[in-house]
């Protein structure tokens, strides 16, 4: 089935890791990168942890391409805005009305590290984790199954809604709805597209509710799963370790903040 996901199927060690191990690792990287004192943590984590992991996961090329594509607008924007419009500071050079400041460029460089960290951390996780195995493992640690239902269903119906929206757009166009032209013309197209999309899908709610209740959605019996997710003792200990490291890095930040 067509799902809304970035998963790339590979037979790598990273893919075979338990989904919980990978989600905790992602969380740890984000928390550590954003809380640890020091300005260049983001770059260090991406260079020495995330990139090697991407190599191990055999998704390196795709990974670089996607992260670069997502980060580029932010990088351009932050470098231009924060260096050119920094206000008072030491100018790098002056040309006409342009006078980028050293302090601004430094701030932009620090921000770029954080931006790349957030993008890379999320994307690596999304590329190497199958959404359904993630859900099953979440259920195993006690996340209510209704939450798992919501996430899995969402991932499945998003592509359908995207094509539904296009269908409605085309249908309304063929009835003469203007979707090109000036801002006023284009904004008038919004309501005739949104209303059919939303009302049509609300009708679906009742049918779906009956369907899943008829299949024992509210049953209190313990559920079994078709897919078994392999876990190891080592990974269990590593997850504990990740969790402690996360708390440590937050504690380090608080201590550093207090001493300043």
């Amino acid at each position: 089935m067509n799902t809304f996901s970035m998963y790339v199927a590979r037979e790598s060690g990273l893919h075979k890791l338990h989904p919980l191990t990978k989600s905790l690792l992602t969380l740890l990287l984000l928390v550590a990168g954003l809380t640890l004192p020091g300005n260049w943590t983001g770059y260090i984590l991406v260079l020495f942890i995330i990139l090697p992991l991407a190599l191990w996961g055999q998704v390196f090329r795709n990974f670089i391409r996607i992260v670069w594509g997502l980060s580029l607008p932010f990088i351009l924007s932050v470098v231009i805005i924060q260096s050119l419009f920094w206000g008072k500071g030491t100018p790098i050079f002056e040309f006409w009305i342009l006078a980028p400041k050293v302090e601004g460029a430094l701030f932009a460089a620090i921000s770029v590290g954080r931006i790349i960290l957030v993008m890379a951390g999320f994307i690596l996780f999304a590329m190497t984790t199958r959404p359904d195995t993630l859900m099953i493992s979440l259920k195993q640690v006690g996340v209510p199954s209704s939450l798992a239902y919501i996430i899995v269903t969402t991932l499945q119906i998003i592509p359908r809604f995207q094509s539904k929206a296009s269908t409605i757009l085309d249908a309304q166009r063929s009835r003469g709805l203007e979707t090109e032209g000036n801002l006023f013309v284009r904004s008038r197209a919004v309501v005739p597209i949104i209303l059919p999309l939303v009302l049509g899908s609300l009708v679906e709610v009742e049918e779906r509710a009956i369907a899943i209740e008829a299949r024992g959605f509210n049953s209190k019996r313990e559920e079994t799963s078709l897919i078994e997710i392999p876990d190891t003792k080592t990974q269990f200990i590593v997850r504990r370790l990740f969790f402690m490291l996360m708390i440590l890095s937050i504690a380090a930040r608080i201590a550093w903040q207090l001493s300043n």
Partner: protein, 255 residues
């Protein structure tokens, strides 16, 4: 309170939430295709808040951003903002903001006050001066009013027109949307400033650049950018939901 929360998450709500998230994403992308200067990516979230209640709305918002974040991590960082938007929509729903018709003169008043305060805000910011010690002073109200009297009158007229022609009978829903937008702008600014260096990688960055050029700090520039774009966007979202709920078949509304 736990009982109330449980009641919000009936089977119908659980089925509605994935659909709402898909609506968020589908409409968010549609708006980009139509090249409109708004986001409209929280209509589904507001809808769940309005139909099911604040907690269901909050969950929808958070999940929507986290799931969308699997494709665009930038959105995921603001999951808590989306949760707050859903929560406020739920409160608005409980107060009947999505059912009641508003007299048109109230809508006119809402629109006028909103555009007036926005103008005041922008002018106060762009006329602020920062001295060498980094202390920022804002111009006095009387000075602003006398210097920009014409602009303020025009702003009030535009606001009244927006109220009359756009808000029409959905003034209360629009007002709740405006409030939501202001809250969203304030709480999203710290993340935008700290994690993303104050930029969104899109056209609204020009607003940040303008505020930065006028001497405002990073955090306040981001907040100002949000205050210019968010309230209008959330007002439209709340209005659309109001419109949806009114055009819904009576059979569905009763449930």
């Amino acid at each position: 309170m736990m009982d109330n929360i449980k009641k919000e998450f009936s089977t119908r709500t659980l089925v509605l939430i994935p659909i709402a998230i898909a609506i968020n994403i589908a409409i968010g992308e549609l708006v980009v295709r139509l090249k409109l200067p708004v986001y409209l990516d929280s209509i589904g979230t507001v809808l769940v808040g309005a139909i099911a209640g604040p907690w269901a709305g909050a969950l929808t918002g958070a999940l929507a951003n986290l799931i969308w974040g699997l494709f665009n991590p930038f959105v995921a960082a603001f999951f808590y903002v989306a949760a707050v938007i859903g929560f406020i929509a739920g409160l608005a729903g409980k107060r009947g903001a999505f059912q009641n018709e508003t007299p048109r003169w109230v809508s006119v008043l809402v629109g006028a006050v909103f555009v007036f305060s926005l103008t005041l805000f922008v002018l106060a910011f762009s006329n602020a001066s920062t001295d060498d010690t980094g202390f920022t002073t804002y111009p006095g109200m009387t000075e602003l009013f006398s210097r920009y009297a014409v602009i303020f009158v025009v702003a009030i007229l535009i606001g009244a027109a927006i109220g009359y022609f756009l808000l029409q009978k959905g003034g209360y829903a629009g007002l709740w949307g405006l409030i939501t937008g202001i809250v969203a702008a304030i709480i999203s600014a710290p993340t935008a400033a700290y994690v993303f260096g104050g930029v969104t990688g899109s056209g609204t960055d020009l607003v940040v650049a303008a505020f930065r050029a006028s001497g405002a700090g990073i955090l306040s520039s981001v907040m100002a950018q949000g205050a210019v774009s968010d309230p209008f966007d959330k007002m439209l979202s709340f209005m659309v939901v109001w419109l949806i709920l009114r055009s819904m078949p009576a059979r569905f509304r009763a449930q």
